[in-house]
């Protein structure tokens, strides 16, 4: 009878392990039920990117993404976790195709949900065309899976955030959980600064980056449904909560999303900074939101923050 003891230690480890700091593999190990993870095309298959050698760059045996099957509180789930430290978690040909294949299977089965642990800067520059197209295929596969009744949940809290096509893919998911350091955007701070100048966006102003793209703003805006603390256990609980909440997807969801986004634009379209949006949402002392501890922030978000339930 060692199993309960083992489970307790795993939970304790999950509680004390930073999602932000850990690797894709550690996240999956601690997110799923103990020992339940089975990988598809693991590193021993050595399916590396065929393109990095053109640039004389090192490969990684799993091309920066771990995909497979496991259990969450006893129920089967498909999972994909990007490794944000390898090439910024960027989408390349092989990396993307693994996620596409997983989503296509989920669509066929139609009853097993998919968890995507995003940690990505977007398209991998060295294979930009393949990466862009991989993202287009993933977005299509997410929508086909959702149309078949599959719940697709995104978990965002890694060091590379969720940028570029990753941000668009996250926008296709049924629901998102995000932690404070989990940034969601299309153009990264450096990209905006390079293209539009430091007056438009000062990428070295970290406070500006967090309040414009970070998890707290995304939660208050209604871009994410659940705010998670930066530990793997909290993401596990967030995933379970979201899987219990997600309703069916259809034309009505898209009509509701159109209304939700148009409403956001009319309410906040003239705001110059996140603090202005938070103040317009009715938050007193909006400027103090970035400093709020998680528990106080969650209370605030549940009172004020918008949700996108059934509107995405």
């Amino acid at each position: 009878m060692t199993a309960p003891f083992k489970d307790i230690t795993l939970t304790e480890r999950a509680c004390s392990t930073s999602f932000y700091e850990s690797s894709a593999r550690t996240r999956l190990e601690l997110l799923l039920d103990a020992g339940s993870f089975v990988e598809f095309i693991g590193p021993e298959q050595r399916e590396v990117s065929p393109h990095l050698k053109i640039f004389d760059l090192p490969e990684q045996f799993d091309d920066g993404i771990v995909v497979g099957h496991g259990r969450l509180d006893g129920s089967p789930v498909f999972v994909a976790a990007q490794e944000g430290r390898f090439m910024g978690g960027a989408f390349g040909e092989v990396h993307g195709a693994k996620l596409t294949g997983l989503l296509r299977a989920a669509r066929q089965i139609a009853s097993i949900p998919v968890l995507i642990l995003f940690d990505t800067g977007g398209v991998r520059l060295q294979e930009a065309n393949a990466g862009e197209l991989a993202i287009a295929e993933i977005m299509r596969a997410v929508m086909e899976a959702r149309s078949a009744g599959v719940k697709v949940v995104g978990l965002i809290g890694g060091r590379s955030g969720c940028y570029g096509g990753g941000g668009l893919t996250a926008g296709c998911c049924s629901a998102l959980a995000v932690s404070e350091p989990g940034r969601i955007a299309v153009s990264g701070p450096e990209v905006i600064e390079t293209n539009r100048g430091v007056e438009e966006f000062d990428s070295r102003d970290r406070a500006l980056v967090w309040r414009t793209m970070g998890g707290k703003h995304r939660r208050l805006l209604g871009a994410a449904d659940v705010f998670a603390d930066d530990n793997v256990q909290d993401f596990r609980e967030a995933a379970l909560e979201l899987l219990g909440l997600i309703g069916p997807f259809g034309l009505d969801s898209l009509k509701a999303e159109q209304e939700r986004l148009a409403d956001r634009l009319s309410r906040y379209g003239a705001c110059l900074d996140a603090v202005d949006i938070w103040a317009a949402e009715g938050i007193a002392h909006a400027e103090s939101v970035p400093e709020l501890p998680s528990d106080q922030f969650i209370t605030l978000a549940e009172r004020i923050g918008r949700t996108n339930r059934d509107a995405r």
Partner: protein, 240 residues
């Protein structure tokens, strides 16, 4: 070819397509008299939250009221790179546009993208790459990433990148590279009527199943994607 030339050649029976600050909205009449919903981005306009919400709204308004195929014209910049757009959740607006197009396509409103100018990054994902069939016109010059930015990140010279681009379609800008990757299904000719080519495509639309990885493999541009996706799918089906 200018946008007006393209529209005249595509729709000799007439169209009601307005260009409002680079956002194209309207509809057109096909040869047999049926209507086609038309939307798009023109004049190399950046795709931001304001543009995206109008485009997605145009498609949603037509669902239920109209039938028939949807054409997405693309001559855009990248996504709009600004603090305001990101602050308001540009990723959601672009995703929403793509979702609306994909939803329409798999529910009886086949979508065709027509890339006639530039496009890049998130703007291409939300428009042309969210359609079932993406067609390129000669002279279109998409660039997922531009070479100067790539040179900066990879710390390689432009000359070195251009040299490498000769041996692979995988990273460099250009229509022919996207054709080889399977992103662009076909390229039309400017020398014959675009209406003929559109009618021929509509008469022979591929199934609403994403076949771009198979196309990329057949054309030698993406040799691994289709096989990897298929292997993962098989393993996942066995694992349940």
């Amino acid at each position: 070819m200018t946008l007006d030339d393209i529209l005249a050649s595509l729709f000799p029976k007439g169209h009601e397509i307005r260009n409002d600050k680079g956002v194209l909205l309207g509809s057109a009449t096909l040869r047999r008299g049926d209507k086609m919903l038309v939307l798009g981005v023109a004049d190399r306009t950046a795709l931001g939250v304001d543009e995206a919400i109008r485009l997605s709204g145009h498609v949603l308004e037509s669902i239920g009221l109209a039938s028939g195929p949807i054409l997405v014209l693309v001559d855009s910049d990248s996504q709009r790179m600004s603090k305001r757009d990101e602050l308001l959740g540009l990723n959601e607006f672009l995703a929403h546009l793509a979702k609306v197009l994909i939803h329409a396509d798999i529910n009886g409103r086949p979508t065709i993208g027509l890339l006639y100018g530039h496009s890049a990054a998130g703007a291409l994902l939300a428009t042309g790459l969210a359609t079932r069939v993406l067609v390129g016109l000669p002279g279109a010059h998409p660039a997922v990433m531009d070479l100067p930015s790539m040179a900066k990140v990879t710390k390689l010279s432009m000359e070195a990148l251009e040299e490498k681009a000769k041996s692979t379609p995988v990273f460099a800008p250009g229509l022919s590279n996207l054709v080889q990757m399977g992103a662009v299904h076909t390229t039309w000719s400017n020398d014959s009527s675009l209406a003929d080519q559109l009618e021929a495509l509509l008469a022979d639309m591929p199934a609403a199943r994403d076949q771009r990885d198979a196309l990329g493999k057949a054309r030698g541009g993406r040799l691994k994607a289709a096989d990897i996706a298929e292997r993962v799918r098989d393993l996942a089906l066995q694992a349940r």
